[in-house]
């Protein structure tokens, strides 16, 4: 008995150690980025100032004064929030229909949706650029919202579908027998019951929108430029200014890290696709 207990203690300890190592491995780049953001551009590349240096806020002040950080941040918030809302507005009825009134082709439709994620974005870069320019949508928030919504829609529908599947069909049928129409059913029964799943989906969608860099960088110049564009724009011709770049990056990922911290539970649930109840 004692031996069994010991060995399980040992394996628990080794597992915990492993978890810590992996955690630190993931955390280190963020830590380093934050650290570098408080160094001057000159200090940032000097080995003697690796850990001990004279902290400065210069990079952050520079960022807000010269780059108009708040405009980029506002664009990021607006595009991510609206893209998430629209993705849910389309995704919820869609997933509802597929979960509770499946047809023979439901599985195929789901696979087809997922397959759109397999298309290399670069393949449609030029058509997208020319089309949006000729339609006068280039560098508009509207365009970014639509694009972010569309690229995340497959994931949103898949996640919602998985959550909705867990709701017993009888409860939805009871609603039908009780005289509710389809919208009433979604509003009164489905959304309250799948609230946790919808929140996880929304959170994940929001994070994906916020982090998206390919299209937001290429389909914007100034008006609709998001924080991704701000980071990308910090490649000066004279070379990279690591201090400045780190400050911009920290300010860009900061909000999402804080959000993720507070919604850890929901996120874990979302990422495991409803497998853990």
């Amino acid at each position: 008995m004692a031996i069994v207990a010991q060995s399980s203690n040992a394996s628990r300890a080794s597992r915990a150690t492993l978890a810590w190592i992996v955690g630190l491995l993931f955390f280190f780049p963020i830590f380093w980025m934050v650290l570098t953001s408080f160094k001057t551009d000159a200090d940032a590349v000097k080995p003697e100032f690796l850990i001990f240096f004279q902290p400065t806020l210069e990079n952050y002040l520079n960022m807000t004064e010269n780059y108009d950080y708040w405009r980029f941040a506002r664009n990021s918030v607006i595009t991510a929030v609206f893209a998430t809302i629209f993705a849910l507005a389309v995704g919820i009825p869609c997933a509802y229909a597929m979960a509770f009134n499946p047809s023979r082709s439901t599985k195929d439709v789901l696979m087809w949706m997922l397959s759109t994620k397999m298309l290399p974005a670069a393949a449609v870069l030029y058509p997208m650029t020319f089309l949006t320019k000729s339609m006068g949508l280039f560098d508009t928030k509207f365009l970014i919202i639509v694009v972010l919504m569309l690229i995340n829609l497959p994931i949103v529908i898949w996640m919602l579908f998985t959550y909705f599947k867990e709701i017993p069909k009888e409860i939805i049928e009871a609603g039908q027998m009780d005289g509710v129409n389809t919208w009433g059913e979604i509003r009164e029964i489905l959304i309250p019951l799948a609230w946790g799943g919808i929140a996880s989906t929304a959170l994940l969608c929001f994070i994906f929108c916020w982090n998206e860099a390919y299209w937001t960088v290429r389909l914007t110049t100034t008006d609709a430029a998001t924080l991704s564009k701000l980071i990308e724009g910090n490649r000066a011709p004279e070379g990279l200014f690591f201090g400045r770049l780190s400050a911009v990056s920290t300010a860009a990922v900061g909000p999402i890290v804080v959000l993720g911290w507070f919604c850890q539970k929901q996120l874990v649930q979302g990422l495991t696709f409803g497998a853990v109840k």
């Binding site: 017993p168 009888e170 409860i171 049928e173 009871a174 609603g175 039908q176 027998m177 009780d178 005289g179 509710v180 129409n181 009433g184 009164e188 029964i189 309250p192 019951l193």
Partner: protein
């Protein structure tokens, strides 16, 4: 009013036809029970009436109005599910109020009906609880409450008692029967339990592989089953079936006799065998008799306690006028 008519209704899932053309009328105020072994299509038939499944062809009428293409929410029927299907995020009060809220009833009227339903179902103390805090029996009462407040054309019950334990089942059976006596609303009740069917129904519909085997009152089915299937399905313990010489003597392929129609006699019995298991219930005794050369086991029911034990020889005399005769196709010979 709730007269429900099915006219040559069929249902197929893909290439599999689960309900071949079927006609059935359930009169207003009738308590109809669909009974049959699992997979016989009884639940599908109920769901077709509810509108939860679409008919493949044929029509369904409620009070003479064709509702085949009408959505379940507009058919004016209430349903009680086997799994209760309560809304887990709402309190008992809100669950019961839900259909009335959807129908746009006034708050005052809603409250009045909730209280009336809660009182008749003994739920008054639980109105502010969530379904998760209730026992199975209480949940089923809430489901019934949610159905009755709507004042529907008809109630549909889909095996509502099969998730309850035996004692509760008997109690709820009585309550539902009393509810029907009081309300006189059409009820359609699906079960695989023939005891429920016998005790509750005005009209039993026996189904087998999607086909109606027989429709009739419980006693009609008991006394005059149309086929071997109905004869074997209705009644507990089951009817004895005998083939061979005894059947030939009576010009039948198979003869059937219920356990209570075989008398145990001291001597001069027509059949004899050895007692296998003897079930002494006090009021009745059931003997499972082997070695009769008629069937593997003959079940015999006698009133009171008869002092025969395992291994004893037993003399039996069937009541000739109660014997049922069946032909090669399994249909009863009148």
């Amino acid at each position: 009013m709730g007269r429900i008519q099915l006219e040559s209704v069929t249902k197929s899932f893909g290439d599999v036809q689960v309900i071949p053309p079927l006609d059935l009328t359930i009169e207003d105020g009738e308590f109809a029970v669909f009974v049959g072994p699992s997979g016989c299509g009884k639940s599908t038939l109920l769901r077709l009436i509810a509108g939860l499944e679409e008919t493949t062809s044929g029509s369904i009428m409620i009070d003479g109005q064709d509702v085949t293409q009408v959505s379940p929410s507009k058919r004016g029927l209430a349903m009680v599910f086997q799994t209760y299907a309560l809304y887990p995020h709402m309190t008992v009060r809100k669950n019961i109020a839900f259909p009335m809220r959807m129908a746009g009833l006034s708050e005052a009227e809603q409250e009045k009906r909730i209280m009336a339903a809660a009182e008749s179902l003994n739920l008054t103390d639980y109105l502010d609880r969530k379904p998760g805090q209730l026992s199975g029996g209480q949940r089923q009462r809430v489901a019934i409450g949610r159905a009755i407040v709507r004042d529907p054309e008809a109630f549909l019950f889909d095996e509502p008692l099969s998730n309850l334990d035996a004692a509760l089942r008997v109690g709820m059976r009585l309550e539902i029967t009393e509810m029907h006596e009081r309300m006189k609303t059409t009820m359609i009740y699906v079960t695989h339990d023939q005891v429920e069917a016998m005790t509750m129904a005005d009209k039993i519909v026996v189904l087998r592989a999607g086909v109606i085997e027989q429709v009739g009152s419980p006693l009609e089915l008991y006394r005059a089953p149309r086929s071997l299937f109905v004869a074997g399905f209705i009644g507990s313990p089951k009817m004895n079936f005998i083939e061979g010489e005894e059947a030939d003597k009576r010009d039948a392929k198979t003869i059937g006799i219920r356990p209570e129609h075989i008398d145990v006699v001291e001597d001069g019995g027509i059949w004899q065998g050895k007692v296998g298991v003897a079930e002494h219930l006090g009021s009745d005794t059931f003997f499972h008799v082997h070695g009769t050369n008629l069937a593997d086991t003959l079940t015999v029911r006698t009133v009171g306690d008869v002092a025969l034990r395992h291994g004893d020889t037993i003399q039996l005399r069937p009541r000739e006028d109660e014997l049922l005769r069946f032909d090669d196709a399994g249909l009863r010979i009148a």
